[in-house]
Symmetry: C2
Subunit: 293 residues, 2 copies
Amino acid sequence: MARLENTTDYLIAPRVQTKGLARALTGTDQHGQPIDLNVIEERPLTIYLNAQEIVTAMTIGDYPEYLALGFLRNQGMLRDTDTITGVDYDEELGVVVVRTDSMTIFEDKLKKKTRTSGCAVGTVFGDMMEGLDNVTLPAMPVKTSDLYTLAAKINRTPSLYLTAGAIHGTVLCQGDRPLVYMEDVGRHNAVDKIAGWMLSEQIKPDDNILYTTGRLTSEMVIKTALMGIPTLASRSGFTAWGVEIANQVGLTLIGRMKGQRFVCLSGETRLIRDADPYKIVDEPKQSNRKGTQ
Amino acid sequence: MARLENTTDYLIAPRVQTKGLARALTGTDQHGQPIDLNVIEERPLTIYLNAQEIVTAMTIGDYPEYLALGFLRNQGMLRDTDTITGVDYDEELGVVVVRTDSMTIFEDKLKKKTRTSGCAVGTVFGDMMEGLDNVTLPAMPVKTSDLYTLAAKINRTPSLYLTAGAIHGTVLCQGDRPLVYMEDVGRHNAVDKIAGWMLSEQIKPDDNILYTTGRLTSEMVIKTALMGIPTLASRSGFTAWGVEIANQVGLTLIGRMKGQRFVCLSGETRLIRDADPYKIVDEPKQSNRKGTQ
């Protein structure tokens, strides 16, 4: 536990020092007194797949290439069979273009659907669910001691959340080690940036754990499963459908993880309960995440 | 303050007793003991504008007609000039269709855009910003005593958040009275349901206040402005762009409102500071919203 405040262990740590991700603003407090605040930035990023405009995401603006790649991958618009030939980011225009060597199945389907029934915004969700049919996650055992260590390390890591608030964090972990810590105003952006990094680095996620500050909704569970990660943990709650899908694909799902407390709603048989909850220290007050809704 | 626990004052109160919005699930806690939980439902709802499929939203499922109307209105797809001839909800299919007497400008634009450049998902955001150009909000004075009373009433109102968690709330208020309290898994759905109700009831929002549990992002600020509501308050934080837009359209923006504390980031001159913050009691512990990320 001596390395708690040391972020050099991360492959990617939160970009606390990077300029342009937060801004100093002055407001007034409850007594009418000026108060200086560090406020998170938010800017539009339009994602293209080849010539096809896909979506405009609101993001803090770091790692636009990973965000675009991960978004397209998690929506099932980019598949294993697609060969990516380039990812071009134009900062001035706020545009990122992901190019493949030939037209993707998604573009082809979209073209057909567009011809028959107009635009196809609503297909996005159906495509995500469709991708789940082929997913069976590896039955990876999870030590509760690792989960506690991860939560403690992550909560004490200097982050934009701790300096500015109003932001979500998602961390790709292995054993008791947090590897890649992404933050963003949109909770799905943080996950998508991790998916983009994994795709770029050709990561095999069979023994990874994903930790998120966000709720365990169906979309978060689906994304984690599509990324091939067998364990998902969060300090927040869950939805009934998120729990259902986790059970269906064999995802170990841990929610409401704060201090010594947690709830397991899927994958109890994969948990190795090697930690004594009574020996877990409470969280330091400054990492008491609340209000980041 | 005698009416705090009384929800009969609401025109629409949270649907705590309605079946089908939450489900009993059993998990295991940190000691490996079974734990019974009340978990929020989440289901897909596909919204059509006439023959045009628009989007599939993930929602708890109450007020689908208001959600569809409000979503279309807040995205600028339905305008004042459109005459709505019907809103049809099919529970089994999870589909709601909003019908107008003639083709909307949005459908017409989408058709043209679809012909020239394929699907037009990315235009949604541009259309929202475009609608802001015509918005000037009334310079409504806001009493801090009303803000404190509203926060206290809302936090003590029986809600799905208090019984199940993992859900967002948004409340349309007038003076010190909360009128319509909507909850949903998606934070924008709760706002959209209020917009749909306002549209149905032909509400003039010139003296309304919108209270939300969610963050004050650009999208939340834009929606509030498009709904014509001059004041937006939240217990959560804000983004720099949200603050910028609020200043631009003359929206009074109050964030991080908890107990006696709050921060005003836009509209300080419209605040009437008639309450002594030191006399505000702290929030009861069970309404300490956290983890609803």
